[in-house]
């Protein structure tokens, strides 16, 4: 089923949207021609010329070739694809919010500032941190910001030597990338046999050149770093700071707090833990939260509550400056705030409880069929390895993933973390019911059996989608990225 490009449906002269005629004195009809000719655009642009119904059918059909959480289970490890509440969608479309300009006088935007301030308060309570900034637009943007805070902190102290950031080799790619963009050198920290940070290796690398250790907890194997307090102690003793990648907060929300673990700075992913929709890859939001030590460096402006009401405060001498054009992805804050109001303290804790229960249940049921290299203390996600299937039957993690598509599921994350061969990372989230989990287990068992009896059929998957496996080499070599 091929849906043509809209440009290919164009017919000259067709119009979808009609502007009202220019309602000014006739002398202004050709006003635009007064722009000096050497500054004027030459020629036109090839955009679709179609009717409104064409536009509607086109995008409606395209949406039929997309799989969202609303369509089916999405056990993507490290992405926390939980249900996106419709209430959030409705509220995010209220004109009282969408029609507010970012540069209006603060007296006219008290509603928006109230949402942001209260969200920051709640996020501070949830994470055990002192305050934060909502400016970063995504998780890796939050990492970039957090590392910039760390950098500024050391620069202010004249500690120019601290040019290294320690990162576990199991970390998400954005961690080392964010460090590199900030001018840090990345040093890898080893994992021990349990899949956790190797404390001895860590200590051996904690020189006075280290600015920070970046961790996620639970880590990317879904395992809780049992030695976190020891890790925190070692890092701080060495004069370095501890950064928390909040991607996996869903496992411990309402149960434990990164602030209590000794983290100095963290980012959150509102589009993961706090249920704002992924939108096909964005927009998300990656607020950064800090302890008192780093508070003076937060991006500006800050949001404060004074006698007259809420206000922006631009008076922070040590602030690192701005990381977004305006104040961050406001409509995403709104959704996250609505989620927190709905869930409340009990609901957030229940989310973590059930996310962990669901993951453990899946792991238990899949264990007879799939190897789980690291099983000690699984929390909200776990990693299976199909290395043994590859060796015996020649089927890879990719083949398993594609076969799952034919079963109606979005596949788990594949080939991550890097420390597990032929990895599939499964995170069910608390949104999935027992029946959904059992159905998923049945599908995984079917595939495991097919891998043994008919491996070729897995290699042909997916067969139920509009297209089969695509030629990635051709895509790169031809690099056709526009019509």
């Amino acid at each position: 089923m091929i849906e043509p490009l809209l440009i290919d449906k164009s017919k000259k002269g067709r119009l979808a949207y009609c502007y009202p005629p220019l309602d000014l004195p006739r002398s202004f009809d050709h006003e635009f021609e007064h722009l000096p000719s050497h500054l004027q655009r030459e020629g036109g642009a090839r955009l679709p010329e179609v009717s409104e119904l064409d536009v509607v059918r086109h995008f409606t059909r395209l949406s039929g070739m997309v799989h969202g959480v609303d369509n089916g289970m999405y056990p993507l490890g490290s992405c926390t694809m939980k249900y996106n509440p419709k209430l959030g969608e409705e509220i995010a479309q209220m004109a009282q919010f969408t029609q507010i300009h970012p540069l209006q006088d603060t007296s006219t935007v008290q509603g928006c500032l109230s949402v942001m301030y209260n969200l920051l308060e709640d996020l501070s309570s949830i994470t055990g941190m002192s305050w934060g900034s909502l400016q970063p637009c995504a998780g890796s943007h939050g990492e970039y910001t957090g590392l910039k805070l760390i950098r500024s902190y050391f620069l202010k102290r004249g500690d120019l030597n601290r040019t290294k950031v320690l990162i576990p080799v199991s970390a998400h790619g954005t961690n080392p990338a964010s460090a590199a963009v900030n001018g840090f050198d990345v040093v890898e920290v080893a994992s021990n046999r349990k899949g956790l940070v190797d404390l001895d290796d860590l200590k051996s690398r904690l020189t006075d050149e280290v600015a920070a250790l970046m961790l996620t907890n639970p880590n990317t194997l879904g395992l809780f770093e049992e030695d976190i307090l020891k890790i925190s102690e070692a890092v701080h003793e060495a004069g370095a700071l501890l950064y928390y990648d909040g991607a996996n907060l869903n496992a411990i929300m309402g149960k434990a707090r990164p602030g209590d673990m000794g983290f100095d700075v963290l980012h959150l992913n509102l589009h993961k833990t706090f249920s704002t929709p992924h939108g096909g890859g964005g927009p998300g939001s990656g607020p950064v939260m800090v302890n008192d030590l780093l508070r003076p460096f937060l991006p500006k402006p800050d949001i404060v509550l004074r006698e007259g009401g809420y206000a922006f405060d631009w008076d922070q001498a040590d602030s690192i400056g701005k990381v977004s054009m305006f104040w961050g992805n406001f409509l995403v804050f709104l959704r996250a705030y609505v989620y927190i109001l709905r869930m409340g303290s009990e609901g957030l804790r229940a989310a973590a409880n059930h996310a962990v229960l669901n993951a453990n249940y899946l792991a238990k049921k899949l264990k007879p069929y799939y190897e789980i290299p690291y099983t000690g203390g699984i929390m909200h996600e776990f990693v299976i390895s199909v290395k043994n299937y590859k060796e015996q039957y020649g089927v890879t993690a990719e083949d398993f993933a594609k076969a799952l598509i034919d079963e109606g599921y979005h596949p788990p994350t594949v080939y991550f973390p890097l420390i597990v061969d032929e990895a599939l990372m499964i995170e069910p989230t608390e949104s999935e019911s027992l029946e959904n989990l059992d159905a998923f287990i049945d599908a995984m068992i079917r595939i495991a059996k097919r891998a043994k009896s008919d491996p070729g059929s897995l290699k042909k998957a997916p067969i139920s989608t509009p297209v089969g496996r695509l030629d990635q080499v051709k895509a790169v070599k031809e690099a056709r990225v526009r019509y």
């Binding site: 995008f59 999405y74 507010i100 964005g282 977004s324 409509l331 303290s345």
Partner: protein, 449 residues
Amino acid sequence: MIYPYIPHTDEDRAHMLEALGLSSIDQLFEVVGEDLLLEDSVPIAHRRTEDEVQRMIDSIAQRNIRGIPFLGGGCYDHIVPATVKALSSLPSFVTAYTPYQAEMSQGLLQAIFEFQSMICEITSMDIANASLYDGSHAIVEAALLMVNAKRGAKKVLVSETIHPFALKALKTWVLGTEYEIVLVEEKDGITDFSNLAIGDDVGGLIVQSPNRYGFVEDYTGMAELLHERKALFAISSDPLSLAIQKTPGQWGADIAVGDTQSLGLSLAFGGPSCGYMAVKQPLLRRIPGRLVGITADAEGRRGFTLTLQAREQHIKRERATSNICSNQALAALMTTIHLSSLGWNGMVEAARQSYAKAHYLAHHLGQLPGVDVLDAHPFWCEFPIVFHDAKRLRKFLQELRNEGIFAGVRLSALTRKSADELVLLVAVTEKRSREELEMYIAAAQRVMK
């Protein structure tokens, strides 16, 4: 006990715990340790029902005051067809993840491909990515590209006339790095190129048109000058302005960046927005962000897929030159639907009407005492007016506010400099009706007479 958005019944929990050989969920958290486990939950308010939340939000929303916005400063109130909201709200678009599994995401990938194509067409460039966070991020990524593309590059030349907040973001980026932003000063409201020094360590030049005052700038000869010195040229533009303004590609720029907020996105207190970046062919492997390309499956069927991923953080990790992962996909979709609904003719009409209405207002304000319209340079839909004293400016803003009009953005709100206190940036789009324009003029006449 049923919690919001969590389907488990007591029976479900019991069944699952039995399968795990456990008696309580708490046992799954023992690994966290007593020192860290919270006894109750985190200290926030208790949960609320949908109705309670809606009432609370309604009351919060009442504290926002809407007005007729003659406000610009990087965010503009344009007409958006109803198709945008309707189609971008389709549930599978909203709740989908990044289309890494291409076969089951063809709809999303195709929409992104169409976005990329349209951005190329509008900017006269060869390759566009699937979006960046916003216009300021796009400018920072352009600078990053410049210093990484040229061996030994440590500096990026930046015009003082770019959006002040984007300039702040650039300064934030260089903090703690080995790079430097060198300001190219403005003179009389436009970039002054007379003292331009393009050394071997300069990666490139970044400018903006229309600039922060709304003025359209002249870049004749710039591209040649920079390319001679092996430096890159980046132009930041409001994409709607490119319907009538010379495009970055036509100026010979290597990189076009900006924000597509003016193409289909609501004001939304400034976010989410949508940054764009488009480059010329030689920079294909240097452009950051996601790229969707065309390919085929084994049966020869046309398909779309994320491609050239070797550029991105998940592959390059510590060797990455950009750390972007999530982008503004759904916002880019809104822009795509918007452009599909407008077509080229619609885009031109919107741009021309904005131009005409802005000049109409400027013409009338120019006749008032106590304020000067700065029109030494051509402008599109935004222009600066300078008051002779602060008191009248305040009175002006208040009087118009009383009529439900937000008269303009104070330049000092962007530059954070008191020297700019008397300058007001007035933006007029095609959405401003004749009635609204006359209201503005009448109120202004009352105050300034």
